[in-house]
C-alpha cells in the first residue's frame, strides 16, 4: 500500500464526493472566515443553522471559558431563509467547496417546509439541527426523542431532493438509536454530534456565568465523549458518520476517522486558530504518507485492537 504519489484525500458522503474530509461545524464560521483562510481548500462549507423565522438568540453574556473548553449559549440567531439565499450563498460563491445548509424549526412540519424552501442548486446538502426544542413536546429537544427525530428527518427527506444529513445531539442515552433512525429515515450521513449541555458558575459572585445559565460545552474537553459516540454509531449504521467535537487539528481528525468517522467537522478551534481546518487537511495528507496509506478513506475505521500484552509493563529498551 505504500505509495509515492500524493494521497487521495477524497471521501464519499452518500451521493457527494468531498475533496477532503475536513469541514467547519455549523455556526462556527461566517463570511469573516473568508478574510482569513482559503475556504476553497475545505471538503465542504457548512453554514450556520437558519430557522424559518427571524430570531434574536439568547441573553448575553453568551460565552464562558473553562479550562480547555467553552460554554456557548447563542440560541439560533437567524436571519431567515431569504437572507441565506440572497446573501449567504453568494458570499461563498467564489469558494471552490460544496455548501451545506443547516436548518432548524419549532415543528417537524416546519423542518420539512424549510428544507423545501431552500432547495437551491447551490446547496449540496442540508443538515438537520435537531438539538433545538420541539414546541409540540414542551420544548424537549427533537433530538432527544427518537420518534420526534424520525418525524423531522422523514419530512425533510420527503421535502427535498438535496441530500439530508442528521446532526445528532450527544445529550442522549444511547446515541446509536438515533443514528439508526436517521439511516432509516433516508439521511445520507449523521454528524456526531452537537454540543453537550453544560453550565458554569462563578462561586464568588454566586451567579451563573452565562446569561442563559446553561450552554453548549464545546472544545477539546468533549472529544473523548464524542469520539466514543462516533465509534458506537459507526458500528451501528452503514451511512457515513461525520465526527465533530473538540477537534483542534489533523491528529484529532484522524482519531475520529480511526474510530469510524468518514469526515470531520471543526467548531470552536476555528475561533482560536483560524487555520486549523486547512492545516488539518495538510496533516492528514502527511499522516497518510507516513503510514503508507494511498487514500484518507483507508483511515476510516482502521482502529486496530490493542493487543494488550499478557503483562503490560513496557519494554523500556
Amino acid at each position: 500500500m505504500v505509495t509515492n504519489s500524493a494521497p487521495d484525500l477524497s471521501v464519499r458522503i452518500g451521493s457527494l464526493t468531498l475533496k477532503n474530509p475536513v469541514m467547519p461545524a455549523s455556526g462556527t464560521i461566517a463570511e469573516g472566515m473568508t478574510q482569513v483562510i482559503d475556504m476553497g481548500r475545505l471538503g465542504a462549507i457548512v453554514l450556520k443553522t437558519i430557522t424559518p423565522d427571524l430570531r434574536q438568540g439568547t441573553l448575553p453574556p453568551r460565552v464562558a471559558e473553562y479550562r480547555d473548553a467553552t460554554l456557548f449559549s447563542i440560541g439560533i440567531p437567524s436571519k431567515g431563509p431569504d437572507y441565506l439565499l440572497e446573501h449567504t450563498l453568494p458570499a461563498y460563491a467564489a469558494c471552490d467547496a460544496p455548501l451545506v445548509a443547516s436548518v432548524s424549526a419549532d415543528t417537524a412540519e416546519d423542518f420539512g417546509k424549510l428544507a423545501a424552501y431552500i432547495s437551491d442548486p447551490r446547496i449540496a446538502a442540508i443538515e438537520a439541527n435537531i438539538s433545538c426544542p420541539n414546541l409540540k413536546a414542551d420544548g424537549r429537544a427533537f433530538g432527544m426523542d427518537p420518534e420526534a427525530t424520525r418525524e423531522v428527518l422523514e419530512r425533510m427527506v420527503a421535502a427535498t431532493r438535496i441530500p439530508v444529513w442528521a446532526k445528532l445531539t450527544p445529550n442522549v442515552g444511547d446515541i446509536t438509536v438515533f443514528a439508526r433512525v436517521a439511516e432509516e429515515a433516508g439521511c445520507e450521513a449523521v454528524i456526531v454530534g452537537n454540543a453537550i449541555l453544560g453550565m458554569a458558575v462563578d462561586a464568588e459572585a454566586m451567579r451563573p456565568r452565562l446569561g442563559n445559565v446553561m450552554g453548549g460545552l464545546t472544545g477539546p474537553a468533549v472529544k473523548p465523549i464524542l469520539l466514543r459516540m462516533v465509534h458506537q454509531c459507526a458500528k451501528a449504521v452503514q451511512i457515513p458518520v461525520i465526527g465533530c467535537g473538540g477537534i483542534t487539528g489533523g491528529e484529532d481528525a484522524v482519531e475520529y476517522m480511526l474510530a469510524g468517522a468518514t469526515a470531520v467537522q471543526v467548531g470552536t478551534a476555528n475561533f482560536i486558530r483560524p487555520h486549523t481546518m486547512t492545516e488539518a487537511v495538510d496533516w492528514i495528507a502527511d499522516y497518510c504518507t507516513r503510514h503508507g496509506l494511498s487514500a484518507a478513506r483507508e483511515i476510516t475505521g482502521a482502529l486496530r485492537p490493542l493487543h494488550a500484552p499478557a503483562t503490560a509493563p513496557t519494554e523500556t529498551v
Binding site: 455556526g27 478574510q35 434574536q56 460565552v63
Partner: protein, 281 residues
C-alpha cells in the same frame, strides 16, 4: 430584537486582509500598578489597523494553564514608520496575566486587525475625547487620526486618582490638549464635568465626541452630543468567542432609529457604535 444587522460585504476567497500576525515583543512594561504597555513589531497587515479596531490575542500560558480563547485588545499605538503596534492593558485574569509574562524578543500571535473603528466625519474640526480606565487605550489612535485629518483634539481623561491617569503623554504627542478629572477631588463627577465641557464648547465648538470605558461618561457624552446637535461614537466591550463575526457570542443590544432594539456583534458590527445606537449599562 432580531440579529439582522447586515455584515460588511464579504470578499470571499479573495485576499486575506485579516492575519494571524506574529509580532515580536519590543517592550512590555508596567505603566502603573494595574496597567502595562506592550509594544510589538508587527507585519504590514497589522500596521493597517485603524483607530477603534482591535486584535484578538493568543495569550501565553501561566501556571494556571493556557488561556483557551483569545483575548480582545484595542489598538493603542499604530506606528507604521517603526513597524510597531502597541497595547495598553489591565492585568485582570488568566489571559492578561499571561500577556504580562511576555519578554522582549518573544512572539505574540495577534489576529487582526478586527472590527469597525471610529469614523471621523469629513471636515471635523474639533474632537472631544472622553475616556476612563481601559477606555483610554482605544482613544490614543483616534487622537492621531484626528490630528492627521487636521482636527484639534481635546481629551478629557478620567481616573479614580491622579496617579492612575494614563495616556497623557501618548495623547499630547498626538497633539491633543489634555484635561484630567479625578474622583478624589470630585472633578470627574458628571455634574462637575458638564459645565466645564460646555465652557470648552463655547470657547471652540466641538463637532464630534468619542468616548469609551465608563457608563457615566457615555451618558454625559450622549447628552452633550444631543444638546449640541453633533455626532459621536463609543467603543463597547463584550465577552468574545471568535472576534471574526462568526460565533455571535459578543452581541449587545443597540437602539434602532425607528424604536426597538436589535443585537449587534461587538467584534464585527463594532466595537465602535454611534452614541445613538449604544445603550447605557
Amino acid at each position: 430584537m432580531p440579529d439582522t444587522a447586515l455584515s460588511p460585504a464579504p470578499e470571499a476567497c479573495a485576499g486575506f486582509p485579516i492575519e494571524e500576525a506574529l509580532c515580536e515583543i519590543v517592550s512590555n512594561d508596567a505603566v502603573n500598578a494595574e496597567y502595562r504597555l506592550m509594544i510589538a513589531r508587527a507585519p504590514e497587515a497589522a500596521l493597517r489597523a485603524r483607530a477603534g479596531q482591535f486584535f484578538h490575542l493568543l495569550c501565553p500560558a501561566t501556571e494556571a494553564g493556557q488561556p483557551f480563547l483569545r483575548r480582545p485588545m484595542s489598538i493603542y499605538r499604530i506606528d507604521p514608520a517603526r513597524g510597531e503596534i502597541g497595547f495598553l492593558y489591565k492585568v485582570t485574569g488568566k489571559g492578561t496575566r499571561g500577556l504580562a509574562t511576555l519578554r522582549p524578543g518573544e512572539m505574540l500571535n495577534a489576529l487582526g486587525p478586527l472590527g469597525r473603528g471610529f469614523t471621523l466625519p469629513a471636515d471635523t474640526r474639533h474632537v472631544m475625547i472622553l475616556g476612563r480606565g481601559v477606555g483610554l487605550a482605544t482613544m490614543a489612535p483616534l487622537a492621531r487620526l484626528a490630528a492627521e485629518s487636521g482636527a484639534a483634539v481635546t481629551a478629557v481623561l478620567s481616573a479614580r486618582s491622579p496617579e492612575l491617569v494614563m495616556s497623557r503623554g501618548e495623547l499630547e504627542a498626538a497633539g491633543a490638549r489634555v484635561i484630567e478629572v479625578v474622583d478624589t477631588d470630585g472633578s470627574s463627577a458628571p455634574e462637575e464635568m458638564e459645565p466645564r465641557l460646555a465652557a470648552l464648547h463655547a470657547e471652540r465648538a466641538f463637532d464630534y465626541i468619542a468616548t469609551c470605558g465608563s457608563n457615566r461618561l457615555f451618558r454625559l457624552a450622549r447628552g452633550l452630543a444631543r444638546s449640541w446637535g453633533i455626532p459621536g461614537e463609543i467603543a463597547l466591550e463584550q465577552h468574545m468567542g471568535c472576534g471574526l463575526g462568526m460565533c455571535y457570542a459578543c452581541v449587545i443590544p443597540v437602539a434602532l432609529p425607528g424604536g426597538g432594539e436589535e443585537y449587534r456583534r461587538v467584534c464585527w458590527d463594532g466595537p465602535v457604535f454611534t452614541l445613538e445606537e449604544a445603550k447605557g449599562w
